[in-house]
Symmetry: C2
Subunit: 455 residues, 2 copies
């Protein structure tokens, strides 16, 4: 472990410069106009992997954004690890809330500040550097493959086909992913469960044009009022989702397992303070970790309609819109939930408006068994670096592709995340602590040794 | 009447050019950056009035936008008419729905298409031309004063003070206003009632920053979900507003008067078709004309929060906003309703969010007695031009300043509107039929004769 710490210390500046070059490419996958940036980013990854020591690297076209693949096969008889990461990032708005420029990374207070600093450029980059170290020292104990995609933040629509088309190339014993968080900087954890996702855009149309709210107000259905009523009706007073059939396939976690989960450290006061809220709010009968770990949700992620400028405009708008998402848990099927929501939402539209529901994307949930050899290897690596056994946790987030890997490649994933919940991923002022960045590189290098049984 | 028709025919092109010069000034009062345009517009009005024949005209400063005043006093012993109009217009968004350029007027299909073509540049301009005709012919039978303000569309915040400060200058026997509509091009009407208005902006704040909807979804109050719930809760299933005390001061119109109102022509099918809706929706127990004429409303005029761009962003936003308005009827007091709403809205905020309510503006409702001499004079003028007695109607719109005139200047207003409900005021593709524009000029000129008793 000392050797790799020294290697990091000696190469720190170069590591940061390489990561910053990656971050400076504004690879926002949800914005069509950023498409050329995705290609720049894919080529940059190819360069990074070749410099780190892969035998070959290539940028693969898909129907959407490219995938960068690279591999180093030391011996086909040895175990193979497939590293998965993503080069794309979330949009940066609201821009005015950033204290730095999102795509111009800076180091301040021991953290890297930038969009993608953690999710997932920072975390994926740690893999390249752990690999580089092992290659340079001649101690790489297994075959390593890298698959860095460009559509994770929009639900990886083209990666399943890519996996099916390159099943042999991607064959591996385990998939390693760093795209999650630890409980705290001194409490290592490994994510063993991920929620699924379903995401829609809805449009409510009333009159064919915006109307004067005085002349017509009171006589016609106002699309904003109606949209609010419909969204409000999707949850009851107990915080439960009212879509018929929504809970039918939800895995009800046993009292025993809930009791175990309750032993994981959780400081409600610190959590509230970190989020800046005076009270938490969620489904009755469940704790906060349960609400985010084992229960599905209904959230409007965006809403707009009518006059939103300065001052007052007395308008009765023609249209109102919302972006709506549900987090799903085992064994909810996102396609089924997508259909249940659409049917329910359309059916509840009152006369005088028309409703359009568009399913934007979705993905299944995931569970990783904690007796998996790769999980055990990860456990040991964290223990060496952090001095504590990592806690297995169910995360509220979604990485839809993880479930697809299992289905298509028949390989389990181990989620070795080094982010912190305070990193503000998907938000303004995303950041990643240098301590986690460097610890991550060390932990990943150790993982390979344990996984290959070479300790 | 033949003489003025000939005068209009001979000067038609000049009239339109003068009006178009006025329209080309984008005098949007709700946008601070348009302030210089307000001054350009005020100076343009001064020029117009001087050319039309006033003795003096002046641009008055206020704390906000300027007021253009002009007058021609032929004989202090004769009756005095104060013409009120406004030079400011509504914002033009959504811009992409306009088929023409909003501030570049064009004549097509017998209509003027532009922002302000009707409301209120076109209608106010008719007064200048009726006056010009009477002056040029030497037949002006009374004193005329013009007061053209620049803040009507934002609730005339500075005009009450202007009226108080210039009470003597503005003294008149009646105020004449063209800022309303007729029932149809062949059904003249005079607006005898106006609804009042209260308009707020509300802000719901949850967590201190946008959060990842997966990691935190289900654990914290989502400001959009909460805002939707709060807006939805403001009306019950019968379409009644649930703010405690909201209906306390509402004038319940007698069954007799409601029966009279029901005799005014109203074609529900044509109304629905004009608006492009399959069904109408409003307060149970009231007809559509009643819902817009004698009943108060609750409408969200705008809403925004979270991610509103292309594609999907899984965000749990920190804030959500709405613009909310209530139309009020006699004898609701807008200041009281403003307070009732604020108290109710703040009180219903659930734990985990904070709510901010800002009262943007408001104004009282208005009733004009149909036995007023000026009303009788207007009635006769319409009858001569349209061949039918005008129908007295209660409009759903608000011109808050009309009630203020009564309070400050102790003068009643007669609302001689020539717009049509299909003119799309406040909406994209606002227009004003040339037929109404020319008929308006004739009718207003005739009004002066009847009002001065010189028929």
């Amino acid at each position: 472990m000392k050797a790799i710490r020294t290697y990091i210390e000696e190469n720190k500046e170069r590591f940061l410069n390489e990561l910053f070059d990656l971050i400076r490419i504004p690879s926002v996958s949800s914005l069509a106009e950023h498409k050329p940036e995705m290609y720049r980013c894919a080529e940059q990854w190819k360069k990074l992997l070749l410099e780190a020591g892969v035998d070959r690297a290539e940028v693969y076209e898909t129907e959407g954004n490219p995938v960068t693949y690279g591999e180093k096969i030391i011996d086909p008889a040895r175990p193979t690890v497939l590293v998965y990461g993503h080069m794309d990032v979330m949009p940066v708005d609201p821009l005015q809330e950033w204290r730095t420029t999102p795509f111009e990374p800076v180091v301040k207070d021991g953290k890297i500040w930038a969009r993608g600093a953690d999710d997932d450029k920072g975390q994926a980059f740690m893999h390249a550097k752990a690999f580089e170290y092992l290659v340079k020292r001649g101690t790489l104990p297994c075959n390593v493959k890298f698959m860095i995609e460009g559509e994770e933040e929009i639900g990886s629509p083209n990666l399943p086909k890519f996996c099916r088309d390159h099943e042999e190339m991607l064959a591996a014993d385990v998939i390693l992913v760093s795209d999650t968080s630890m409980i705290a900087r001194d409490i290592p954890s490994i994510t063993t469960g991920l929620r699924g996702l379903a995401y829609w855009q809805v449009e409510v149309t009333g009159p064919k044009a915006d109307l004067h709210s005085g002349l017509f107000g009171g006589a016609v259905a106002n699309p904003i009022n109606v949209l609010c009523q419909m969204i409000a009706a999707m949850q009851d007073e107990q915080g439960r989702v009212t879509i018929p059939g929504f809970y039918d396939d939800v895995l009800e976690v046993s009292d025993e397992e809930r009791a175990l989960m309750a032993k994981a450290p959780f400081d409600e006061e610190a959590y509230k303070q970190a989020l800046g809220v005076k009270a938490l709010r969620g489904e009755d009968g469940y704790s906060t970790p349960e609400r985010t770990g084992i229960r599905p949700t209904f959230d409007a992620c965006g809403i707009w309609g009518g006059y939103t400028g300065e001052g007052a405009k007395t308008v009765l708008p023609a249209k109102a819109y919302a972006k709506i998402s549900c987090r799903l848990v085992p064994y909810q099927q996102h396609e089924k939930v997508a259909r249940l929501f659409q049917e329910h939402f359309e059916a509840m539209a009152p006369a005088g408006v028309t409703v359009k529901v568009e399913y934007l994307h979705g993905g299944p949930s995931y569970l990783c068994p904690i007796d998996l050899p790769a999980y055990k290897a990860a456990e040991k690596a964290y223990h060496e670096v952090y001095g504590k056994m990592p806690v297995p946790v169910r995360s509220g987030g979604s990485i839809p592709i993880i479930a697809t890997f299992e289905e298509v490649l028949k390989v389990k994933s181990v989620l070795m995340g080094f982010g912190l919940s305070s990193d503000a991923i998907h938000s303004p002022n995303e950041h990643f602590p240098l301590e986690q960045f460097f610890n991550g590189i060390v932990t990943l290098a150790l993982f390979y040794r344990h996984f290959a049984g070479e300790k």
